[in-house]
Amino acid sequence: MKIFFILMLLFCFKYSISDEIKPIVIEENCKSCHGKDYSGNTFIKSIKDLDKEIFIKKMKDYKKNNNNSVMSRIVKVLSVNDIKEIAEIIYD
């Protein structure tokens, strides 16, 4: 029974938007607001010049945050692994 619960928990935590989905497909959607080169504009923050680790931290904060901002709502669905993989694509 314990094993069953552990497996259930693992299953729940494993589920994220990126199941069977390549991170590049998720990342393409960031460009809609942040621009083709992530440089943003007067009203949308640039993510181009951020440090990779700062980007990951900010995204984790959005995920934890309950302020119901657009970014927070978008990032909620992503797993920490999704965030790291998106960062790899943007900054590497």
Binding site: S18, I21, S32, G35, N41, F43, N68, I74, V77
Partner: protein
């Protein structure tokens, strides 16, 4: 048994020979034709997003874009022009496509799917290897007795990029104190689900700015609408009791139109000084003229956006049945990226990527107040339908700061996307 075996071996040999000859033939064909020609029909958000993405692959494909207009007028933010928040010039763009992309400005009249040819009004034609259709929406006729989208006497619906916003505003300008405005909102599906309610807000914003006393009655063919709780709250806060929404079950469905009056499905007569009918919608006209669709919306493979029954023709944006995804500019752009990515995969004979889509729809309630709804989308387990992973929206009781912040973010999104698409 031996006879059967010989016959099997002979069949395999014949098949191998046919395949080999086919391959030689195909190789010659590819060599002769060089790069496959991809034609994008329509340079709105869906089409322009395909062009933007595919322009990275012009060493692999010949890319041609066809639109009837030299200038693109966007539907997103057109309500803001009505509300006097921005000038019409801010939503009008002359696309600056890469030099290696051919931009054909011509009125198209027919797609010959069998011969893979687009026919134009001037009798010229254009061949394609792959066609991406992004023609936007068309309109259903005879949904409301006495109303026609083509009647210039009527208030223009302004639901596409046609140049009629000035006429619409001229009609608003003629309104006097204590005027009554009637808006008829269509049943789903239609382009941009929150737009009729944003339009009501923008008309109110415009008239309030002119100190004209007014009443807006929204007659709805639905019993609810997206972001309803926020809209109702915003209307109360910004315009008192000046905007009233009438659901379908309370007599909101308009069935007959006459000059200065409408009749609902209960036969009740309602008089108005400004009657704005938002017509019921279907896929773009060219799709029906070319007999590429049997229903109101194109049936597509949601992983590739290939049209059902036409393997080299694709469709994207408002004309397709995209499952749970709303018909919005944001959705069209998200779909266009997947279409383009998987078209390139097809040309390179690579396996298709599993898609994920995003949509965010902003709506304005006044000069500097906006709110939004957001959702991610994936394919269902049988991979034949796009399903929502659950939508979330701005708080009903959002503070001033939140509404102001979202209005700025909306402008930010619009600036980024139009810069990416039109340069």
């Amino acid at each position: 048994m031996i006879k059967k075996k010989r016959s099997f071996i002979s069949s395999v040999l014949k098949l191998s020979l046919v395949l080999l000859l086919n391959q030689i033939g195909m190789a010659k064909k590819v060599k002769a034709k060089n790069k496959p020609k991809v034609v994008v029909l329509g340079a709105g958000f869906g089409g322009a997003s395909c062009i933007s993405y595919l322009s990275n692959f012009t060493d692999l494909i010949d890319l041609v874009v066809v639109d009837k207009n030299k200038w693109i007028k966007t539907c997103p933010f057109s309500n803001l022009v009505i509300g006097n928040l921005i000038d019409e010039s801010k939503i009008t763009f002359k696309p600056k496509f890469n030099k290696n992309i051919k931009f054909v400005i011509s009125e198209f009249k027919f797609i010959d799917a069998e011969r893979k040819k687009i026919l134009f009004d001037d009798e010229s034609s254009l061949d394609f290897d792959f066609l991406i259709m992004s023609p936007g929406i068309g309109y259903k006729s005879k949904q409301i007795q006495g109303y026609s989208v083509n009647d210039n006497e009527n208030i223009p619906h302004c639901w596409d990029g046609e140049n009629k916003i000035a006429n619409f505003k001229k009609g608003l300008d003629s309104l006097e104190n204590n005027c009554r405005i009637i808006i008829s909102s269509p049943d789903y599906p239609y382009r941009c689900p929150p737009a009729p309610y944003e339009r009501a807000s923008m008309i109110a914003n415009y008239l309030k700015g002119k100190s004209v006393k007014f009443k807006i009655l929204i007659f709805d063919s639905k019993n609810s609408f997206t972001k309803k709780s926020i809209f109702l709250k915003e209307w109360k806060e910004m315009y008192g009791n000046s905007i009233e929404w009438v659901s379908k079950q309370n007599g909101g469905q308009i069935s007959r139109f006459e000059k200065k009056k409408v009749f609902n499905s209960d036969g009740e007569k309602i008089k108005g000084d400004f009657i704005h009918i938002i017509p019921e919608q279907k896929a773009g006209k060219i799709i029906f003229d070319s007999k590429l669709c049997n229903n109101d919306w194109c049936t597509i493979n949601p992983q590739t956006f290939q049209l059902f029954n036409f393997k080299d023709i694709y469709a994207v944006g408002d004309s397709v049945d995209a499952g749970d995804m709303p018909k919005s500019a944001f959705s069209a752009e998200s779909q266009a990226k997947i279409l383009s990515l998987n078209l390139i995969n097809r040309i390179l004979q690579k396996s298709y990527l599993n898609p994920v889509f995003l949509n965010t729809c902003y709506s304005f309630s006044s000069n500097d107040r906006a709110f939004s709804i957001t959702s991610w989308y994936k394919l269902n387990t049988t991979k034949d339908r796009i399903v929502s992973l659950g939508s979330s929206q701005s708080s009903d009781d959002g503070l001033n700061d939140e509404r102001i912040r979202e209005s700025k973010e909306a402008f930010g999104w619009y600036e980024s996307i139009t810069k990416t698409l039109y340069g």
